[in-house]
Structures are given as C-alpha cells and as structure tokens.
C-alpha cells in the first residue's frame, strides 16, 4: 500500500513537472518578433505643391476588421500616410465587421466634428445613410473602395477596378497563349467567394477579355479567400483537368494554398496569374522558378491616396496636375499587370498576406 501511494505520488509529481515543462515550452513558441515586416505601401504620390503644409486638420478613419492581409494593409497604409504630414491627426476607430458598430463609430466621428472622414464601409449600402449624414453636417467623406448606394453620401470615391482586374488577367493570358501558338487552351479560374459582386465582376472581365481572343474559361472553381480553401479546391481542380495551359487565381491571399497544391501535385505545364498583388506572389514572380508568371493588382495603396485626397479636400485644394481647382468626384485605380519585367516597381506597394 505504501509503495502504491509512493508510486502514485511520483506519478503526480511527474505529471506536474511535465505540465509545467510543456507550459514553459509553449510560452517560448509564441514569439513572432522577427517577422514584423515593414508596412507596405504608403508612397507619397502627390506632387510637391500638394505637399505644402496645410492648416492643422483631423481626419477620421474607419474600415472593416483587419482579418486578412489586404484589409490589414489598408489600415496600416492609412496610418503611415497620415503620419507623413505633421499637421494631420488621424482619428482611426477600431476596425469592425459589424455594420451596426461601424455606423455608430462613424457617428462618433461626426459628433467630434473631424475635418474629413475616410471610410471603407464593410457594406457600402448599409453605410450610405451615415455617409450622407456626415456630408450634410459639412464633413467631406472620402469613400474608399466599397461604393455607397447614393453618390451624395461621399465627396469623392476612390477604389479598385474588379472588372478591369479580370480583364487584365484575361488579356495577359490570351497574349501568352497566342504567342505560344496554343489554339484551344485549357484555361482554369479559381474565384474567391463566388456570391460576392466583386467576384462576379472579376470573372466577367476575365471572360470578356478571353472572349475577344476567341478563348473561354474551361474550368472554374471557387475558394473562400483563405489559404486552406485555396489548397483544397486546387487539389481537386488539378484532378479535373489533367492538362492545363493557363490558370487565373483571383486572390493572392488564397494563392499561397493554390501554390502549395500545385507543388504537391508536381504540376508545372501551365502559367499562373495571381490577383491583388501580395509580396509573396511578387517575390515568386521575381524569382521566376514556379508556375506563377504575373499578378494583376488591386492595390491597398488606395488607402494612402485616400488620406491625401481627404487632406486636399479639407484644405480646399485640387490636384495640382489637373486643371480643375477641386478634387475629382471619383477615381478608379487601374489594375496593373505585374510581371518579372516590372515587378521591382510594384514590390514596394505589395502587401504581406
């Protein structure tokens, strides 16, 4: 009996020591310190005269929660751009995917009487009334990317071009197929979340550009913008199409998984084009030793430009390279095709996924 008790005691002690050791071990594994890559983007695009110090202003900023690489880059770009102007104070509210909360946060900014608001709504339609309210209160709103239902709700809109992005990818692939002399290419497409309007616009642009060259999409699958879903659908897609000539993946965040599946299947007979323009993909394009040969951008640097626009509007200035004394009502960014030839130019604007 004594021996048994002793044995039990020793077991408890060992278990205890084991648990303590495991805890210490796990605590040591939490650090991500080395990986803190510098925030991308934040280039000063405005010319010298626009940069002249203005009156001291406060710009309010609201965006969805930074739960993936692209939105993360939007928020950090806005902050770093505002930091470049000594007279600008940025009042950035905490990012949220809850429309209700975003509405009340923007209302707080209105009550504070900030000089301008940069707003990337979680849902453009749901935030329209709030944008209108700010405008009526005399606070100019710069609507970032996701469009309000009513143009009066914003002083100006700046955002990406989803249709143009698809068209750019389609044009690049069509050119490549033609120069390779492939007459009936197998062209696959990996969408993001299928039911989003932005996904449908991208696919439409892609189909239209391919259509002009007499090509069509032969295989289409949809992932969910996550790495894991990208890997899963690609593994099945590669089974469905034993031979592929070209592949367009809508989103570089999920692209990491797409690349993993391609490498695991040992496939390299096709060219791949990415979407959005993450630094991972641009580095792969630069090293030119995998299937990915290009990516079409949807640049989060638009947040930096939006801060500049808000500053110009609050100071009553226009864009000095244009003739008009005011900032235009809408600016659509073009989607650039980044290849090995021009990747160095775009790499500084790329975002970490």
């Amino acid at each position: 009996m004594a021996a048994l008790m002793d044995n039990l005691g020793r077991r408890r002690l060992l278990t205890g020591a084991g648990a303590a050791g495991a805890t210490a071990f796990l605590a040591a594994c939490t650090s991500n310190a080395e990986s803190s890559a510098p925030a991308a983007g934040g280039q000063t695009t405005a010319v010298a005269t626009d940069n002249a110090p203005g009156k001291p202003i406060t710009i309010g900023f609201s965006a969805p929660e930074a739960d993936h690489g692209w939105i993360g880059a939007i928020t950090s770009n806005a902050k770093s751009q505002a930091g470049k102007y000594s007279e600008v104070t940025l009042d950035a509210v905490e990012g949220t995917n809850d429309v209700n909360q975003q509405i009340s946060q923007v209302e707080t900014l209105i009550d504070k009487k900030v000089d301008a608001i940069v707003l990337l709504p979680f849902d453009g339609k749901a935030l329209t009334e709030t944008g209108l309210k700010a405008q009526l209160a005399g606070i100019p709103v710069v609507n970032l990317d996701r469009v309000f239902a009513d143009p009066r709700a914003a002083r100006t809109w700046i955002g990406g071009d989803n249709y143009g992005m698809g068209a750019a990818a389609g044009t690049y692939i069509a050119d490549q197929m033609k120069s390779k002399g492939i007459s009936e290419p197998v062209i696959a497409e990996i969408q993001g979340i299928a039911n989003l309007p932005l996904t449908q616009e991208r696919s439409q642009g892609f189909a239209d550009a391919l259509g002009e060259a007499g090509f069509k999409v032969t295989n289409q699958v949809s992932a969910e913008f996550t790495v894991e879903s990208g890997q899963q659908v690609t593994a099945d897609l590669l089974q469905a199409a034993p031979h592929i000539d070209a592949l367009w993946n809508h989103d570089d965040d999920q692209g990491v998984g797409v690349m993993a599946a391609i490498n695991q299947a040992g496939r390299d007979e096709f060219i791949m084009v990415g979407g959005a323009g993450s630094s991972n993909m641009m580095k792969l394009i630069k090293s030119d030793n995998s299937v990915i040969k290009a990516t079409v951008t949807y640049p989060p640097s638009m947040a930096s430009s939006a801060i500049n626009l808000a500053r110009l509007i609050a100071n009553g200035r226009g864009m000095s390279d244009l003739v008009e004394p005011d900032v235009p009502a809408s600016i659509t960014l073009s989607s650039a095709t980044v290849t090995k030839a021009n990747v160095d130019q775009y790499l500084p604007l790329a975002f970490p996924s």
Binding site: C29, H68, E228, V256, G257, Q264
Partner: protein
C-alpha cells in the same frame, strides 16, 4: 426518435434517458449487466449500421465514374484520400467526444490555433520536431481546458467548447497578427509530398490515427467507459468510474487530434493561419452523425464516421471534376445528409427491433 412507442423502452435502455425517473431506473438496470451488454453486439451490426453510407458511397462512385473520365483513376482516389485526411483526423476525436455524450465545437479553432502557434518564427526556428510537439501540446492543452470546464466547472459542453471556439480563434488571430505565416521548414512541407509504396504520408497518418482510435474505442477499457459514459453518466459513476477524469481525457483526446490535424494542414497549405479549419466543427459533427453515432451519445462507430468523411469529400470531388458551382454543391450536400440519415435510421431501427 422515429421509433414507435412500443419500442421506446427497448431503445431507451441503450440510449440516454432524458428525465430523472428513467435515469434512476436505467442506472439500476445498467450497473450490473448494462455495460457488459454493450460488448455483445451481433457481428453483423457494423455492416448494418453503415449500410446506408456504403450505399451512398457506392452510388457516388457510380455517378463519379459515369460523369467524369478522371474520377476512376488511382490519382483521383489518392486525392480523395488526402483531402479526407485532415478533417478525418479531427473526426476521430469528435467521434469519441460524441459517443461519450459530449460535443466539441472548438475543433476548427483549435486546428487554427495549433497551426499558428506551431508556425511562429520562434517555433519554426527550432525545427520540425518542436513544431509538431508544439501543435500537439497546444491542441491537447486546450482540450484539457475544455474538459476541466465541463467536468469540474459543470459547464454544458456546448457552451464550454463554444467559448473555446471563439477565444482560440481570437488568440490565433492575435498571435499571427492576422497574417498568414509561411512555413519555411522543409521537413514539415515534406509531410505533404512524401509517399511510401505509392501511398501519401498524409493518408498513412490518417490511417494510423483511425486504427489507433478504433483499437482504443473497441478493444480497451477506455473505449468501453466512453460508451458507458455516453449511455448514462450516472450509471457509469455508480459503476465506480471517475467520470470527471474520463471527461477531461475525452476532450484532451479531441484536442490532440486537432493538433495532429494542424501539423497535416501546415504541410498541406505550407502555412499557419487563423483562418485554417473554418467550419471543421460542423463538417466533423455531420460526418459523425451520418456515420450513425447518436448525437446523445452512448452508441456509434468510428468506421461510420470515417465513411461519412469520405462521402463529403467524394461529393466535393465529383462536383469539381464536373465543373459545377459551389451553390449546387451545397444544396446536394444537404440533401445527401438527410438521405443518408434516413437510410441509416431505417437500417438501425430494423436492427434494434430484431
């Protein structure tokens, strides 16, 4: 639930009594012969139980073969097997928890947390072995927390694991700073590339976990206690089993499975991310339930759960081979869940009444 009233008492003695009166009666009946009776299933029971699923799986193979020339190939079966492996390992743990009368909603979040924790810069700097150890320890540790909250904190499993689901994913997002962590340790990425005798390593790991799970569930005291606990916790307690410790062990086991799955996912996606394992809890629970395990616990088979996983993976595979939209795929998945369960209950209730 679908059984006519005259069969109720018969069915009751094998499932969970819902009210206190029945619980006491069942406890008295079970302490003696009840637990022993569970061991004496007829040899045909596993086949009968999984009949519905086997039929569905066979039908899917017919549909797959007739609609796509790329279905019936060795490569594609390898692909289905590997696609099933990660969620399959999670489902093994989930089967234990559900047979034991619980539920674990945190599995997807634990996969995410383990994958992130094991792929931080600090973890990766120590190499593959430490990363694997880290993932399994994180999963097991979180599982123990679940178990302690349920067994000693008297929280309902649904609530305890729901809380874990939310906070573990939050912690994963915070730790990764909402970034995707790329795995640069080649030995980890090799797990998804290696094959032995033409069988992918991921499938071998999956097979090993299933085999170990089957042995533990069907050939050990731990397994019999799990069935007993799910059948009636009161009877199990009266039989002299420490049900609190057993509960903690069940959730720890589920957590450990999540840790193993996280390592497999690290290899497969070459990344750790807080978005990994999304909706795994629902996929795993659905596979377990269409596999014939009672959601109330006490009865079930691991083989059924694994067949359930294969059914889902094969559906997705066939849809992508035929280039069909995700929306159609989801509708069909729902219909097949209902169909499989209907066939399953019929096969099972016939078995109960004989």
């Amino acid at each position: 639930m679908t059984q006519p009233p005259d069969q109720r008492t018969d069915a009751r003695s094998q499932t969970v009594p819902t009210d206190e009166q029945a619980r006491v009666e069942a406890a008295a009946a079970r302490t003696g012969a009840g637990i022993a009776a569970l061991r004496d299933h007829p040899a045909l029971a596993p086949v009968l139980r999984n009949l519905g699923l086997l039929v569905v799986l066979a039908l899917l193979c017919v549909v797959g073969t007739s609609t796509s020339p790329n279905f019936l190939t060795v490569d594609n079966f390898r692909n289905i097997l590997v696609s099933s492996s990660v969620i399959g390992v999670v489902t093994v743990g989930m089967t234990f928890v559900i047979i034991g009368g619980g539920i674990d909603l945190s599995v997807g979040a634990l996969v995410a947390l383990s994958s992130v924790w094991a792929s931080t810069v600090a973890s990766q700097s120590h190499g593959a072995a430490v990363m694997i150890l880290c993932a399994v320890l994180v999963g097991t540790g979180a599982g123990i927390v679940n178990g302690v909250l349920i067994a000693y904190g008297r929280l309902v499993p649904f609530i305890a694991t729901l809380a874990m689901m939310v906070s573990a994913r939050g912690l994963a997002a915070k730790m990764a700073d909402n970034k995707t962590q790329i795995v640069t340790v080649q030995q980890i990425n090799d797990i998804a590339l290696k094959e032995y005798a033409g069988i992918p390593l991921l499938a071998i790991i999956f097979g090993a976990v299933v085999l170990a799970g089957w042995l533990v569930l069907n050939r050990t005291t731990f397994g019999r206690r799990t069935f007993a606990l799910g059948g009636s916790s009161e009877a199990t307690r009266l039989a002299g089993i420490n049900i609190n410790v057993h509960t903690v062990l069940l959730y720890a086991l589920s957590g450990a499975c999540c840790g193993i799955a996280a390592v497999m996912l690290l290899a497969r996606t070459t990344t750790g991310s807080s978005t990994h394992g999304e909706l795994y809890e629902l996929d795993a629970i659905a596979a377990v339930i269409i596999g014939g395990t009672l959601l109330t616990g006490g009865r079930g088979t691991l083989v059924g759960s694994i067949l359930g996983v294969f059914v889902f993976t094969t559906i997705t595979n066939i849809f992508i081979l035929n280039n069909l939209a995700t929306s159609v795929q989801n509708i069909t998945k729902g219909v097949i869940i209902v169909a499989a369960v209907l066939v399953q209950t019929r096969a099972t209730s016939r078995h109960v009444s004989t």
